[in-house]
């Protein structure tokens, strides 16, 4: 019993401490900006995960043949072409998601997570582990994004809506908080900062308790 409890806490701490958004404060620009609705969060999370996994794979493929002093331009070319391809595909096949993410789909390129992980991990490990690391990072980024956008959408509009990203048709919308008690402030910028601050503090508190 205590063995898998210990394993669980290792996983928990790994998820929280290693968590790119709340632990390492990477990629905050896009996290705050687009976490106004679950659609944006999952759409962005999926795009970032795809780019992260593919860029980690490609970076770890070329890690032996790139000379040390020009590795930044090489990584930039890889990541930028991946993001352009993803952005074109999303623009063609999921127009509503593209218009709601707007410029942030292209800004994944300068998202500190991607270049950070490519540098810190993928350029030193073989393809398998870096792909897995890309996936882990992408998923925990999506989970953190989901956490913030759930809170902001719930408090801000009182409803949880999910519409099909490809056609934009509303799949389901569940009103939880009656219209009069919603805080439109939460969907605005101020709400983003507040939600992020509280969640980051909660994660820090859990990590501190874990450390003791």
């Amino acid at each position: 019993m205590s063995e898998n409890k210990e394993k669980k806490s290792v996983f928990m701490s790994k998820l929280l401490k290693e968590n790119p958004v709340f632990g390492l404060y990477l990629g905050i620009c896009s996290t705050l900006a687009i976490s106004t609705s679950i659609n944006n969060a999952i759409g962005m999370g999926v795009c970032v995960t795809i780019v992260l996994v593919l860029s980690n794979i490609l970076v770890s493929c070329v890690r032996n043949i790139t000379p040390e002093d020009i590795h930044i331009p090489v990584y930039i070319v890889i990541i930028a072409s991946l993001v352009t391809v993803v952005s074109m595909v999303v623009h063609a096949f999921a127009p509503t998601l593209f218009s709601s993410l707007g410029a942030f789909l292209d800004l994944i390129v300068v998202n500190c997570i991607i270049l950070g992980r490519a540098e810190a991990f993928a350029s030193m490990n073989p393809i398998g582990p870096s792909a897995k690391d890309g996936l882990n990072m992408g998923l925990s980024y999506t989970v953190s994004l989901l956490a913030i956008s759930l809170i902001r959408q719930l408090l801000g509009t009182g409803m949880i809506t999910w519409d099909n990203p490809f056609t934009g048709a509303n799949v389901f919308s569940l009103r939880i908080i009656p219209e009069t008690f919603t805080l439109p402030l939460m969907t605005s910028q101020v709400g983003a900062f507040l939600t992020f601050a509280c969640l980051a503090a909660a994660v820090a508190a859990i990590n501190n308790k874990e450390a003791k």
């Binding site: 070329v62 043949i65 790139t66 000379p67 020009i70 331009p73 090489v74 070319v77 890889i78 930028a80 072409s81 352009t84 391809v85 074109m88 595909v89 623009h91 063609a92 096949f93 127009p95 218009s99 707007g102 509009t157 439109p184 969907t187 605005s188």
Partner: protein, 173 residues
């Protein structure tokens, strides 16, 4: 290939050259696949709205029109029925919004609908709901566009957009 000296600039140039070639190729291939789909989607979206405003006629885009406000993105002529304007204006949300308005040949404002907008829902977005739409569609070319209390920023943006459309309408009529 292995004994090739990795730090010589020739090796670097070749490596970068191959990478850029691959990236250029992949991008142009993907672009040639996705670009038609995007263009077609854009046209389909507009055609649906054109049908609503001026049903049952053929549409062609008017390319050369002078519009000093810079708000009008594209102008379509519904053959011998009227002219439709696709306008991008900036209201409360800095990313702006895109809407369409149609002016019939007899000067009546035949239609007004939003394509996509980021105005705060419940406040700015009221400028795209039915009561304001009916106010706008009851206007004639040249009339003053009424503002909407509570959504002043958005409705002012709509007003400037439609007034720019009036000017272009007179020029293109």
């Amino acid at each position: 290939m292995k004994n090739f000296d990795k730090d010589s600039s020739a090796y670097k140039a070749v490596l970068l050259g191959i990478m850029c070639a691959i990236c250029g190729l992949v991008l142009s291939v993907v672009n040639s696949i996705t670009d038609p789909i995007i263009k077609e989607a854009e046209l389909a979206e507009v055609k649906a709205n054109l049908e609503i405003m001026f049903p049952g006629t053929s549409y062609e885009e008017i390319k050369d029109f002078t519009d000093e406000s810079g708000l009008i993105q594209s102008v379509y002529r519904a053959k011998d029925q009227g002219v439709v304007f696709k306008i991008h204006a900036v209201g409360y949300n800095s990313n702006g919004f895109t809407f369409m308005t149609g002016i019939a040949d007899d000067g009546r404002v035949a239609g007004y609908m939003v394509l996509e907008h980021g105005e705060t829902n419940g406040i700015g977005s009221r400028a795209f709901e039915d009561d304001y739409i009916s106010k706008v569609t009851s206007l004639n070319a040249g009339d003053d566009v009424p503002l909407l209390t509570g959504a002043t920023l958005t409705s002012t943006a709509v007003k400037t957009g439609i007034e720019a459309a009036y000017k272009v309408f007179d020029a293109v009529k």
